[in-house]
């Protein structure tokens, strides 16, 4: 599996989130919470997780998705 740098993942997530909910990629920074800061609801999170899976080749199971609260959490999960 390809290794992705933190920067690469952050950029990719920014693109995905812009596509799905319209948030400016510059708003998507590691410390941001999806729900509280980026105003992303649970259905959009499902879409984002699937898109991230396609982009980075890492499956995010449903039971782990709910623990991924911040952008950094997703970066860590994908790099793990």
């Amino acid at each position: 599996m390809a290794n992705h740098s933190e920067q690469e993942i952050l950029k990719g997530l920014g693109e995905i989130i812009e596509e799905i909910v319209g948030t400016e990629p510059s708003e998507v920074t590691p410390e941001k919470s999806f729900v509280d800061d980026l105003d992303i609801d649970s259905l959009s999170m499902v879409e984002i997780a699937i898109a991230a899976q396609d982009k980075f080749g890492v499956e995010i199971p449903d039971d782990q998705l709910k623990d991924l609260k911040t952008v950094q959490d997703v970066i860590n999960f994908i790099q793990k």
Partner: protein, 411 residues
Amino acid sequence: MSKTDVVVTGLGATTPLGGDVATTWSALLDGRSGISVLPEEWHEKLPVHFAGQIAQEPSEKLPRPRLRRLDRTQQFALIAAKEAWEDAGSPEVDPIRLGVVVSSGIGGILTILEQYDTFREKGWKRVSPFTVPMLMPNSPAAAISLEYTAQAGSHVPVSACASSAEAVANGVDMIRSGRADVVIAGGTEAAIHPLNIASFASMRALSTRNDDPQTASRPWDAGRDGFVMGEGAGILVLESAEHAAKRGARVYAHASGVGYTNDAYDIVQPDPEGAGQARAITQALVDADLGPDDIVHVNAHATSTPAGDVGETRAIRSALGDAADRVAVTSTKSMTGHLLGGAGAVESIASILALHDGRIPPTINIEELDSDVVVDIVRDKPRDMPTGDVAVINESFGFGGHNIALVFRRA
């Protein structure tokens, strides 16, 4: 107890003729056709190669992230609702006194079909998590309720091609019943897809005039061979006259009477005697406290099908009697095509603007009038409407035997 006077204070539409009411209305008066050729790759498998496709794509008006979680019916409805709401002066109204009655005849069928394709090709995980709230028939009404915080109640009468006329009727009734002061009412349809065209074509309901699509929708012409499918939405802001007066709103017309009946004759064929249609007209007139002599114009349902068009003219004559001689009848479907669940609302708007502007749009494409037509049809060019305190009727009928008549009276 006298009925609450309900008025129309806002209009919005997106149709095959234009992305708003003004563009649509001027095209109707000009007698322009909104029918266009379908994507080339569909032609091989279908006997019909044209439809009334929307003039302005929703992507020109709504941002991409918004579009991807809205069915096309919702997109049209939100665009038309925004226009209508702003046209009404963005009324200040208590959310618990604001209602929504917005229908679709078919519902979110494009979402169903597209997501089924995704499911078969890529599996369940790739199916959009918004599929359900997009495909629900109540999704346009729900989207509008959310957008305008309408908490009085949200309703979705489904009666095929009569759906949005029924929605307007229910909106009037909702205000009269005291449940709301303002109601956003109308309908939307977005069903242009090969399967749906195949489905209507297999009933032999569609025109197959592929060599001349813009003349295919020809209500009352002797050579008519079926309707032309269209897409789009129409939305009206209905308001109690008292509420409108208090805020000094501009009033287009009174929504004075509603009539609802059912043929209970056949699942798709109208009763050839038109008895149920005539009863709907009579009921709407009684409801409006008006008589046949008050009516100067009917915007007919007439879809360009062999059976329906002439039967409707018999129903008009039977309901209005000799007064029918002075009634100018038109079918704007000759230009828009048949917007199915969007038709009644868009045609209500045309009826109201005819009253408001004093001009009746023509029926185009009649080369030879069917000799069984028993009313006066406005052909080719718009006709001036009498001045003064007059009223018009908009009729809509749907598979399932539904007949709706709406009476609008000049303000």
